[in-house]
């Protein structure tokens, strides 16, 4: 192989490049895939090497070109590696993982190059903001796929992402019904009511010193009511449909909002508060015009944390008595049926929904707290 490419003429530009080169050398020594593994012929393996070396070599060019080449090289190699393992699950040898690691390092390098780019056009900036996490995520999936298939991990322990993808594609109606039940009913309702209740409790505690002293310690106690303890009780009280799940979500989201709002209300500056005093502004005027805007960064913190908590809460609550629909129901049932791919399909949908949810909250945050140093840049 080594006379095809003179390794010495390759000069990496980054530590990832050097490490990748070392891994390639390691793969050569530890025996090529062809000798050990079915599914790979000389041509494929040569192609993988060419792609990786090409990527390392092209790294020296201007960022845009380097990133493109790194992207193509790393992902092309990964694709070839995965293609070869199909039908030969569980046969991977050390060189398989070494080549995979080399490709991964180059993808990392690609992300680094992309992160350093300062595009001028808005359009390119947006594209970059999407591409960078996408590459990162893609590699989580590639490595997952390669390891589960390469090592032949039993399907019921951890199915490969490709199987999960197929499952998602084939179960859209079921997934849609589950999302409707869990997210559009329980999560949204519980999130709104729970966050709202935490917020109002914090205001009440702030307004009435008596409540502040009495309510906060008790609010703290609510914080740890564990889902597994509360969920059955809620089912008892509110029936087995989504209302009981929403109740669990309310309990889970209440506390983060309470704590953060209380902290946020203390965050406004002294001089700003004195100013309001000179206007003899009423409690509520000071609250709305000064203290709540100043508390906004804290409140959004809670909203962000709650956006994921609510989802976990609703799903887990469905482990305890539900109608036969819902993401949590599906997960617990399909585990029992050994349809782990379906479990992961639901998890993937939950992760997607949670990310969208969080993203929406984060967008609101940027719009509302544009004045805060953390948003203005710092």
């Amino acid at each position: 192989m080594s006379d095809l490419f003179s390794l010495s003429s390759i000069t990496p530009r980054s530590w990832q490049g050097y490490a990748a080169l070392a891994l390639l050398a390691g793969a050569l020594f530890s025996g090529l895939l062809v000798t050990a593994t079915p599914g790979y012929d000389i041509a494929t393996v040569a192609l993988i090497f060419i792609l990786l070396l090409f990527a390392i070599q092209m790294d020296q060019f201007p960022p845009a070109i380097a990133a493109t080449c790194l992207f193509l090289g790393a992902h092309g190699a990964a694709w070839l590696l995965l293609a070869g393992i199909t039908g030969n699950e569980g046969t991977a040898r050390a060189s398989f993982y070494l080549l995979l690691a080399a490709a991964w390092l180059l993808a990392w390098r690609c992300v680094t190059v992309l992160s350093a780019l300062r595009p001028t056009s808005r359009w390119a900036a947006t594209a970059l903001r999407l591409i960078i996490p996408a590459i990162f995520g893609a590699w989580i999936l590639i490595i997952w796929e390669a390891v589960t298939r390469g090592a032949g991990i039993p399907f019921i322990l951890l199915p490969p992402p490709s199987a999960i993808g197929v499952r998602i594609a084939n179960s859209l109606p079921v997934l849609a019904a589950d999302v409707r039940q869990t997210i559009f009913k329980a999560v949204i309702f519980g999130y709104v009511v729970g966050s709202g209740a935490g917020f109002l409790a914090a205001i009440a505690a702030d307004r009435v010193p008596f409540l502040r002293r009495g309510l906060l310690p008790i609010g703290n106690m609510v914080s740890a009511l564990p889902i597994i303890g509360v969920a059955p009780i809620m089912v008892m009280w509110f029936g087995f449909d989504w209302q009981s799940k929403a109740a669990v979500v309310i309990i889970m989201t209440f506390f983060p909002m309470l704590v953060n709002t209380v902290a946020g209300l203390a965050a406004s500056g002294h001089m700003e508060r004195d100013l309001m005093r000179t206007y003899a502004s009423s409690y509520w005027q000071t609250l709305f015009k000064l203290r709540l805007p100043a508390a906004a960064p804290f409140i959004f913190n809670a909203l962000k944390i709650n956006s994921t908590l609510a989802l976990i809460g609703a799903i887990v609550a469905e482990f305890f008595g539900t109608p036969v629909v819902g993401m949590g129901f599906r997960i617990s049932t399909e585990v029992g049926r050994m349809n782990i791919d379906m479990v992961w399909a639901e998890i993937a949908v939950a992760a997607l929904a949670g990310s969208v949810f969080y993203g929406v909250v984060a967008l609101f945050e940027r719009a509302v707290t544009f004045w805060h140093p953390s948003v203005r840049g710092g």
């Binding site: 008892m236 008595g321 109608p323």
Partner: protein, 301 residues
């Protein structure tokens, strides 16, 4: 001594008294075995544990085991201590459901996590839809208690003869106030607690021998437990069981399911179980090699 790890399907209770007795009474030790018993719980799938290498042998229901087998975990039934099924559906007499004909339009509590197959097989037989429509039944995923009945959230709920049934009695229901649909009595039962090991490991004669000794000692344990049910319940309590009275009663009921079994699998029940699973498309093809009588044959000589 040879190490064996047993993964139970549920928490420590008299349902598994035989194994605890065998360990406590030294039956395993006498066979040269060092057995570790891992209790289960909600959301512990023994099939996953054995696939992950966390156990050598598991207690499982046939439905779950066959499903896992098709998903690439080659489980093989090596012994079947429970001859009969303990699952039943109960409805209060003053409720709307008196016979199978009354199910239509009502809400029934069912356990999932692999325990739902007998129910669906039964509904299949009755020709009832389970999607909640007016000409079918509404299914409620029941958690591990009898609250849905007490709360009147369901018209009938699933119970085990040896467990939840007694919770209903404790809650104030009298046996004569309950209508019971027993899966075994109706001939709708699917095989419950059996012992399963991995096919490829069984090919190893040393492992097979270990399993033979394990099954032999376990069945001895079961026999002892059935004969001395109060003592067995005490042993279960010592190992983390809850509520002594309850364990005693459970032991009594479990004894009826064991029914003097020798641990040998009844092929007819197996065939019925496999057919029911096939009918519901839980599994897609007729399983082969899913059980072996070799172990029990050697164990019980």
């Amino acid at each position: 001594a040879d190490k064996v790890t047993l993964q139970l399907k549920w928490v420590t209770q008299a349902q598994f008294a035989g194994y605890y007795v065998a360990k406590d009474k030294g039956f395993y030790e006498a066979e040269g075995l060092d057995v570790e018993i891992k209790p289960g719980g909600p959301d512990i799938a023994p099939e996953q544990v054995i696939a992950g290498g966390g156990a050598d042998v598991i207690v499982d229901w046939m439905g779950g085991a066959l499903a896992a087998r098709e998903k690439g975990v080659p489980l093989v039934n090596i012994a079947q201590p429970f001859k009969k099924a303990g699952m039943q559906l109960v409805c209060p007499k003053d409720g709307p459901v008196k016979t199978e004909a009354d199910f239509k339009g009502h809400t029934l509590g069912v356990w999932f996590f692999g325990n739902e197959y007998p129910f669906y097989a039964w509904m299949n037989k009755l020709g009832l839809k389970t999607d909640g429509g007016p000409d079918g039944v509404t299914v409620l995923k029941q958690s591990f208690d009898v609250q849905p009945l007490i709360q009147k959230q369901a018209d009938c709920i699933s119970v085990m003869t040896y467990n939840e049934y007694w919770q209903l009695i404790d809650a104030g229901y009298k046996p004569e106030e309950l209508i019971v649909f027993n899966y075994s009595a109706m001939g709708n039962d699917l095989l419950e607690d059996g012992l399963y090991a991995l096919e490829d490991k069984l090919k190893d004669p040393a492992f097979e021998d270990k399993m033979v000794r394990f099954v032999r000692a376990s069945m001895k344990g079961w026999k002892y437990a059935v004969d001395n049910s109060d003592e067995a319940a005490g042993i279960v309590m010592d190992n983390g069981g809850q509520d002594e009275n309850h364990q005693k009663r459970m032991m009594g009921e479990v004894a009826k399911l064991i029914d003097n079994a020798d641990g040998k699998l009844d092929p007819a029940t197996y065939a019925r179980t496999a057919k029911a699973l096939l009918d519901q498309k839980i599994i897609t093809k007729e399983p082969t090699g899913a059980y072996t009588t070799a172990i029990t044959d050697k164990a019980i000589k």
